[in-house]
Amino acid sequence: MAEAAATAPALLLEGVTCTFPSPDGRGRTYTAVQGASFTVADGEFVSIVGPTGSGKSTLLNVAAGLLAPSEGRALAFGEPIGGINRHAGYMFQADALMPWKSALENVAAGLEFRGVPRREAEERARPWLARVGLERFGDRYPHQLSGGMRKRVALAQTLIVDPRIVLMDEPFSALDIQTRQMMENELLDLWSADRKSVVFITHDLEEAIAMSDRVLVLSAGPGARLIGEYRIALERPRDVAEIRMTPHFLDLHKEIWGLLREEVLKGYAQTRLR
Amino acid sequence: QTVEKKDLKLAVGGKPLLYYLPLTLAERLGYFKEAGLNVEISDFGGGAKSLQALIGGSADIVTGAYDHTIQMQAKGQPIVAVTQLGRYPGIVLAAVKRAGEIKSIKELKGKKIGVTAPGSSTNFMVNYLLAREGMKPEDVSFIGVGGGPSAIAAIKRGEIDAIANLDPVISQAEADGDIAVIADTRTEKGTLDVYGGPYPAAVLYATPAFIEANPKTTQALVDVFVKTMLWLNKASTEDVLKVLPEEYFLGNKTLYAQAFEHSKPTYSPDGRFTQEGAEAALKVLKAFDPAVAAASIDLSRTYTNRYVEDSLKRLAK
């Protein structure tokens, strides 16, 4: 078992199809993702890009064990994911902070849930808040924080518990470019320190390429499939700001961009009237 | 004979109680209809509430305790009793066997006594007995236990040392062998022992305004009840059981019959009031109801035999 886990990929999705019941509970169903298969090796950094509404978050929900796929199977370290994926941390796309906890308490929550005494948990949460640039905002409640601040609290909250698999759904989209680059570098630092497996969703293709070992491209929905897979052979460690100027980067960007653009236009044409 | 008001609202506080048996009999024997009256009987959670319905104007007439007429006169809300249904109160004071031996009133000192409700006639009866022995109400503690299954529950749990209550509670408890009677006002002797005279119990009363405005209706009502009393006087237990609605003895028929037989002497034979009875009641109330004690009561305005006499003249032929 332990051996299997050692060789098994951190995440394995096989033929995953997600069909949602229609809004009114009966009638037509909506298939968001169709037969998606991919693996994330232990210690690998994988990004998923794709048009809006294609099913990226849905795939992440499956990987997190929050959503059971209609078809196909999902494994984490070789074990089927039934219920919550205990190996994973998940930074949600939507606001998911507990509104009744202050920023500091929100960051400390994961530790508390793991049995760390409250005091200690908060002590350990403090440097994390500082890391995301919010050390002076520990006593604020979520509704007293700006959109970008909430995202950063969520980032610290997810990473503090040191999950083996990190699932991130557009973590940096609410940040300005500079803060964003700092956070990206911070994340890469952390990642390279102990090689977590990361699944990273973003709309920023440059970000995806700059951060990842591999970029997966999802087609437009309905019935979105994985239509592209690009290995990013840029040397590490990387500085996300500098790497964008390298020729290899630009080539990759152009290639993926072309595919993506086509997909979006296709999807858009499908749903658009005029 | 035409009446002024055909549709009448009659209020009663506990219709199935044996205390108000004549009312149910009058209804079941069809006497109201015979008299051309359409009486709607509303049943209340207690005598006080039916009285309030009368004062408030939502009821026209009430079958309730004679005490009320005195108490209301003291409150400046005159009401008049027009016929008597019960001549003995029917209240029994009994010792609860589980709680130990109590034989005399004196032994009640410091004990817990269950009454139907604080301030009710059962409470006054005990107060009066205590006073005769030179004791004060404060020498015992009263607990309201109601007049239904909750009273039985209190006896069975031995939570009270003695109980002052009415039938069918008493008969039920006697049948179960749970109590020993100390004073019994279901009989003439018992009533005389306790009060020193007859004590009017259930009566039919109304406001003077109603009586004045509806003399014929009042007469018709009194006719009905006098007729009922006369019928009851002659009837056997079986006759009565036959007339009553089945629901009344669904609980336990023999018990009901027993309780009825115990209570039979309490019913007035003819519906007449007596002055001594009224005085006995006043005496008791004066001792314990501060409002009555403070007022000067004109007993002649609390009852009238006028209608009864008239009825008897016509009916007792």
Binding site: - | L17, S42, D43, A53, E247
Partner: protein, 269 residues
């Protein structure tokens, strides 16, 4: 964004079976306890007798008249109390000064024992059904009122601000924001209120009336007819469950937008 139920519920027939099982179990327990005299039949009746009586009452038809009156009172108390509770709840939530000033009085009135008020209701409303309705209303009103009041205050400030920016006036805010947002609060209170409406009606009848289930129960209690008392309560509860089912149905229809744990079709998980 999506949490699957840890266990899927079994199908409808299984649930109905389980519910029936609970019922049968309850009656069985009752039967055994009274048969063995652990519970005295004098106080608790016996289930067989109670069922028999209930069936007989329905068969002979005597119960319908009383049931009809009680249901009418219940329905009126429920409707009036609910409408008043919703109206006042919204008004108070939207008029902070009124709410702050009257707050202690509302709470005080809520604490008045209704039993004591019964004569006053009888005085004002007579002995007919209205005094019973009033009793029910005083119970229903407060339950609904407090929930609506709180529900309105819980409206998401962002959604509210959005609607205001879109030009919603106070009427439209009510219809399009406050009301739908507070609906789950309203329905939560209605589930309690249905029961209390019936309690109000029955207690009103019990305290003074000439018809209705409460009247019948009172009559039965007066002659120590425990079976009759329990039979009356059985009929009561059956009908309250029916009324509540209607409320639930309406709730499901009105709250169908509610975000539920997301799930896919045919998920094996």
């Amino acid at each position: 964004m999506a949490a699957p139920r840890s266990k899927r519920l079994p199908g409808r027939p299984v649930i109905l079976l389980l519910q029936a099982g609970v019922l049968v179990g309850f009656f069985l327990l009752w039967h055994v306890l009274t048969e063995t005299r652990i519970l005295s039949p004098f106080f608790f009746g016996t289930p067989l007798a109670v069922l028999e009586r209930t069936v007989k009452d329905f068969a002979s038809g005597v119960i319908w008249y009383h049931l009809g009156i009680t249901l009418l009172e219940t329905a009126l108390a429920f409707a009036i109390g609910t409408v008043a509770g919703i109206a006042f709840g919204f008004w108070f939530a939207r008029a902070p000064l009124v709410s702050v000033v009257f707050d202690p009085y509302i709470k005080a009135v809520n604490a008045l024992p209704r039993v004591v008020l019964a004569p006053i209701f009888a005085l004002w409303l007579g002995l007919g059904i209205w005094s019973k309705v009033a009793l029910g209303v005083t119970l229903v009103f407060f339950i609904v009122f407090f929930n609506v009041y709180q529900g309105v205050k819980e409206v998401s400030p962002v959604v509210l601000a959005n609607a205001r920016m879109l030009g919603a006036g106070s009427r439209q805010l009510f219809r399009h924001v406050y009301l739908p947002s507070a609906l789950s609060w309203v329905f939560s209170s209605l589930h309690t209120a249905v029961g209390f409406a019936m309690v109000g009606a029955v207690v009103g009848e019990y305290l003074g009336s000439s018809a209705g289930l409460g009247y019948r129960i009172h009559q039965a209690e007066g002659v120590f007819d425990t079976v009759g008392v329990f039979s009356g309560m059985l009929v009561l509860t059956i009908f309250v469950v029916v009324i509540d089912a209607v409320v639930t149905l309406i709730e499901k229809r009105l709250l169908h937008w509610r975000p539920q744990e997301a799930h896919t079709t045919n998920a094996q998980g």
